[in-house]
């Protein structure tokens, strides 16, 4: 009998510090048993449970794209027992992952449509996965215009800075990078909070345009009225939630908001769906 709680063993292939506060690290995992890769076929927006023996498990969004083969990547904020232990691990160490878990951004529904990706802070991980997936030549032709609004407190707090620069240089994606503030005189991108940059740069909402929003609660709170103003319908606003989880498969009972389990029925919901359930997230 397939045991959905049993992690797949992986080896830390590379650990990279992402941000100037050193609190965010990206881990690239390779499968100890190469045949396990076939079991971990995911879509952009899903998450996995990272398992550190002796410490526990944490649910983290998958930062790599399904188009990147041979490894899987997660960016982890150092915040508690497991994430701190993970930050202290070294390349070559063995740990585990479970998944892929949860649903994904509704790519099937968004095919042929324009996409506006709005992200803030360290919630950019599954959005990176999405962008890399979308920019794959096979996938890029399936979608319309792509806009990305991504903000962080300061330039040094932006994730994946090399890739952001690469995407900036491309003509098949419109990047709107912003920071809350900076004293860097050479900063050539936007300064301002994500909601106001969204208002300035994002296209108007219509039936053929979807917004994917992922960020801290304060960003979401102030971005929503902007999207309303731009004319986005609530079933065209896609959000990804997080709640405390253990099992990740809808059984342990703690991540529910109303009748929905964030781990299994989510983490991706439309704003329209969220409007009908309590705000317990």
């Amino acid at each position: 009998m397939q045991n959905p709680y049993l992690p797949i063993p992986v080896r830390i292939d590379k650990a990279t510090i992402e941000t100037e506060d050193r609190n965010l690290k990206t881990f690239k995992f390779v499968y100890v048993n190469p045949e396990d890769e076939a079991k971990f076929q995911y879509k952009a927006g899903q998450f996995g449970e990272l398992s550190v023996t002796g410490k526990g498990e944490i649910p983290i969004g998958i930062a790599s794209s399904p188009t990147e083969k041979g490894y899987v990547m997660f960016t982890v904020n150092k915040v508690g027992l497991v994430s701190t232990a993970l930050h202290n691990m070294k390349e070559g160490d063995i740990m585990g992952i479970r998944g892929p878990l949860g649903n994904w951004y509704p790519w099937e529904r968004m095919e042929g449509k324009n996409i506006v990706i709005i992200g803030g802070g360290f919630a950019f991980t599954t959005l990176r996965s999405s962008i890399v997936m979308l920019l794959d030549p096979e996938n890029r032709k399936k979608f319309g215009d792509i806009h990305v609004v991504y903000g962080a407190r300061s330039p040094g707090m932006l994730l994946y800075r090399d890739e952001l620069a690469e995407w900036e240089a491309r003509d098949d994606i419109n990047m709107h990078i912003t920071v809350d503030g900076t004293d860097d005189p050479d900063w050539k991108y936007n300064v301002g909070f994500v909601p106001s940059i969204t208002e300035e740069k994002a296209p108007k909402g219509d039936d053929d345009t979807f917004a994917i929003v992922c960020g801290p609660p304060i960003m979401i709170k102030f971005t929503q009225p902007v999207l309303d103003k731009l004319g986005y319908k609530h079933d065209h606003i896609i959000m990804s939630l997080e709640n405390r989880m253990k099992c990740g498969i809808g059984m342990c009972g703690r991540c529910n908001i109303g009748k929905e389990f964030v781990c299994k029925d989510g983490p991706v919901f439309t704003l329209e769906e969220l409007n009908s359930i309590p705000k317990e997230y």
């Binding site: 023996t53 994430s83 405390r244």
Partner: protein
């Protein structure tokens, strides 16, 4: 289904014959209360009990269990890799479980055995389980099973349902598992001529249950309106978030997962958890979507009486066993809360 008759003088020897084929569990008196416990060879279940303090869910879903084991010793092969461990899935039978408690196992099954994921430990233990239910001739004052989707003689979930007729039991053998058990016990006296007596006893028992809840309007309520109802502060006022209601409830299934290490030997455990605990939902950042006891009390009742109802369209997640009513230290009564919820209309004050 067939009805057999078991003379009480034959009961003990029949149960004795089962002990080679099944691990037996039954109600036994522990201090002032009854609980379900493994029966030693020759030990009889105490079928004179009314209700147990804890529900029998631990027979299929232990309060603590080891999920995996591993070694942190880097000299060992497969170090830091979780390993499955052998578990006992040999046949087991609960003798004298109440019909409501058997029904509860079916309710919880929806959570642990679904099209997407199967909890291997729950599924295999449940598959190994045979239930010999004991119908209630004398329900408690806190029982409200008849309005919670089951009843004192409910035979819909049990493998065998025993009705105590004084000097003998009439047993409805409901399933193949039930047939196998009564066959091994050597119970084969035809009781079909007296089957009507079970229905009479059932009617008499149901008539004794005067405590009722109304659940007919729960499904039609708007979740967010019920969530924002003004009565939650009042309902939760006395609650001390002790979690007693969740641990003794036969339909509460939430669990926690924890790693434990001694030296270089480690294991991953799962333990029953409770939505009454603040830690249950606290994020790593410190943010807590259910930040106070009112939110947590509301979660418990909304889950049982609204979220479950809407999600599975399988009735409420309560079988009316009355344990939480009896044992809540501050007398919070799910029957009252259910009525408040069922009667709720937005904009109208509720008392």
């Amino acid at each position: 289904m067939r009805v057999i008759k078991i003379d009480k003088k034959d009961w003990e020897s029949g149960v004795g014959k089962l002990s080679g084929d099944y691990s037996l569990y039954g109600p036994v008196k522990q201090g002032a209360f009854h609980n379900f416990a493994p029966l030693e060879k020759g030990q009889m279940p105490d079928l004179d009990y009314v209700n147990t303090r804890m529900s029998p869910k631990s027979v299929v879903y232990p309060q603590c269990e080891t999920m995996f084991e591993y070694t942190l010793d880097e000299n060992q092969p497969d170090h830091h890799v979780n390993k499955e461990i052998p578990k006992d899935y040999s046949p087991r039978a609960i003798l004298g479980i109440r019909p409501c408690d058997v029904k509860a196992i079916d309710l919880v099954n929806i959570n642990f055995d679904n099209p997407e994921y199967q909890d291997p430990w729950w599924v295999q233990r449940r598959a190994a389980l045979t239930t010999v239910a004991l119908a209630c001739n004398n329900p408690c004052s806190t029982c409200f099973c008849t309005s919670a989707g089951t009843g004192p003689f409910d035979d819909s979930s049990a493998d065998v349902l025993l009705a105590d007729m004084g000097d003998y039991y009439l047993a409805k053998v409901m399933t193949e598992k039930g047939e196998a058990l009564v066959g091994k016990a050597g119970f084969d006296q035809d009781g079909s001529a007296e089957a009507g007596a079970i229905d009479d006893a059932a009617k008499a028992a149901e008539a004794k249950i005067t405590s009722k809840i109304e659940t007919d309007k729960l499904g039609d309520k708007v979740t967010t309106e019920l969530y924002d109802a003004d009565f939650w502060e009042d309902v939760a006022f006395a609650c001390i978030n002790c979690g007693t209601c969740t641990y003794l409830c036969p339909t509460c299934w939430c669990f926690d997962i924890q790693d434990e290490v001694q030296g270089t030997d480690g294991c991953r455990m799962r333990n029953w958890d409770t939505c009454m605990s603040a830690l249950f939902t606290k994020h790593g950042t410190g943010h807590n979507p259910r930040p106070n006891k009112t939110a947590r009390v509301r979660q418990r009742f909304m889950h049982k009486l609204k979220y479950y109802v809407d999600k599975y369209e399988n009735g409420i997640a309560c079988v009316g066993c009355g344990r939480c009513v009896q044992q809540c230290p501050v007398n919070i009564d799910i029957r009252r809360v259910c009525d408040l919820m069922n009667r709720f209309e937005p904009g109208k004050e509720c008392a």
